[in-house]
Symmetry: C2
Subunit: 359 residues, 2 copies
């Protein structure tokens, strides 16, 4: 990918971001009025305390949204819909469905991990309290369906049902993926296989990318085969993202500014690289690797020792190759279901852009 | 209501409970197998770690479900559906939709309130950790839609969409109701009006009863008018429940075994009774009432003083009357839309049973 293409895509993302946030604002404005409340939750049987709602729902949500984020899932939705030849005016609001769920999922994740910082500021539960954060994050989980309710006239009945089904199924799946991560996080890591790790990534980080792509196919009137293959391609991007994060955490110095030095190693995380190395290593190295991982150490010398063991067994380059091939293969399958258009070329460039970051 | 009728309804609830739990078990079994996983989240692209899922999802969920609960929302669903003349074989699984959401909402509520005990055992987050509890509770929020996915063939397309819409809208509403309660809980109680308190109840405790009734009407092929009026009747039951809880907390000694003595008063909660008394009281009593409520005291003498102030201004009997009239009026409106059948009589008896408990 040339620097010129990269710059173009970055500019495209920046421009779309404004549009995407304006669409989110349509469904959850920063400051609710009576009219907004009626749109959101119907006419009051008695009387709304709007100030309370603004303080406990819209304020934490917009505090979070305004911190940034790339909004690449809605961009992926739009590029897939364009490649499918959709009527963009009719479907564009659906682009924010996976994004709202994604933003909600980070707020909730941070509570589950008891995180401190997110996007350079204290996590929502640190600023507003666990009660408000859980409730606001969960509100973001259900607001996407408001978009389906409000735009019912834009889709035929069968398509509407398929859209609900995609949303519902992926929201269930993501909780199963998160359940794996949580359980392993508690130290239950002795028997994790490479396949199980991949499955966790597919569900924890692949779900919402897959939701974006599948929704785009469905609302564009696509076939089940297109839904399946383009969905799998997006899921693969999500998995590749996770693997890239793992790699960055074990190799790049740049990463130290985002997280602590070798945080995954301190945490004892069984990443694809670690699982690979444990499978390849001789008995002595294997024992040593497990020993350090189970120490939960912050000592740089020990962290560096793990990194050199991962390098000794080529586990870092194995993971890099794995991620690239995963997306390339999935792209080949997906692209065969799409007509040859400029929009498809733009989608391909975007996919390349997403997986090439920093590797 | 005669003792005989009461006993009959209690027996009916007990029998249905088994059936209801068996239906829940169909969609989220206590011990997942590979077949269950495929039913729930599709075929694995890689490989599931089922033990991890059982430990972090099904175990906490069934630990919670097995503690009890009356399951009156599914019973209400079934009685409404019967009164609507539904094909019960086709619709009965939908009865557990509001129940699953309800059970999830208590698990989540307990996290938000940092509760200690629920149904005689430590709250889920105390037993399993906040991470597992949030994730398992939220899983219960989305599993209801799996029932819509799996039973798609039982409903026509328009009905299926209406069912999704009812579920989605009530799930949004309940988070807005909870947002009010959370915000007021943080001490922002100076300006709460009676109408605002009623609205909070309608959304926090009325939503899932309303969901049960509306869903029953919708899947039985009912009209928009029936959905509206029978939904409002169920919402009124939910509101009456909340008012009853408030009353019990301020009057009955029986209640002390469930919660602490006058917990609502210690908390300084602006219940319907408190709002009523604040509106009626002379300046001196008003000041004294606010003074004690703002003390957050556990002293019995002060709590008793509040109770006697509430009695002085007839606020407890006002609340009792309010709750009864609310449900009676809503029932009159709802019943006019239902055909005259034995099923309707059973529904009426059940409604009476629900609102007569302990008042």
């Amino acid at each position: 990918m040339t620097e010129d293409t990269k710059t173009k895509i970055e500019k495209f993302l920046e421009e779309r971001k404004q549009e995407i946030d304006d669409t989110i604002r349509k469904y959850i404005p920063e400051n609710l009025s009576h009219e907004h409340m009626e749109m959101l939750v119907g006419r009051a049987r008695y009387e709304y305390d709007i100030e309370a709602i603004n303080n406990s729902i819209t304020k934490p949500i917009w505090d979070f949204l305004s911190r940034g984020g790339k909004r690449w899932r809605p961009a992926l939705f739009m590029l897939v819909a364009e490649a499918m030849g959709a009527d963009m005016e009719k479907v564009k609001d659906f682009a924010v469905i996976p994004e709202m769920a994604h933003e909600g999922s980070i707020m909730i994740d941070d509570i589950e991990d008891n995180g401190e910082l997110r996007r350079g500021k204290p996590c929502t539960h640190k600023l507003f309290g666990i009660d408000i954060a859980v409730n606001a994050g969960n509100t973001m989980y259900f607001l996407p369906m408001l978009i389906l309710i409000k735009n019912r006239g834009n889709l035929d009945e069968n398509t509407t049902i398929r859209a609900y089904e995609v949303f519902a199924q992926e929201m269930i799946n993501i909780h199963f993926g998160q359940a794996l991560d949580i359980w392993w996080h508690k130290g239950n890591t002795d028997t994790i296989t490479e396949k199980q790790y991949m499955q966790m990534c597919a569900y924890k980080t692949g779900c919402l990318a897959r939701m974006a792509a599948k929704l785009a196919v469905v609302v564009s009137g696509g076939s089940t085969e297109q839904e399946e293959k383009i969905g799998k391609m997006a899921e693969s991007i999500g998995i590749a993202f996770q693997i890239q994060d793992d790699i960055l955490s074990a190799s790049s110095e740049k990463f130290q500014t985002k997280k602590g030095y070798g945080d995954d190693i301190t945490e004892g995380k069984r990443t694809l690289m670690v699982i690979h190395a444990l499978g390849k290593a001789n008995e002595k190295d294997r024992k040593r690797l497990l020993e350090i991982l189970n120490l939960h150490t912050r000592e740089h010398a020990l962290i560096d020792e793990v990194i050199s063991l991962l390098n000794k067994y080529d586990s870092i380059s194995y993971a890099k190759k794995f991620a690239k091939e995963l997306v390339n293969n999935a792209w080949s399958e997906a692209e065969s279901t799409l007509p040859k258009t400029d929009a498809k070329k733009r989608l391909k460039a975007f996919v390349d852009f997403l997986i090439e970051r920093n590797i």
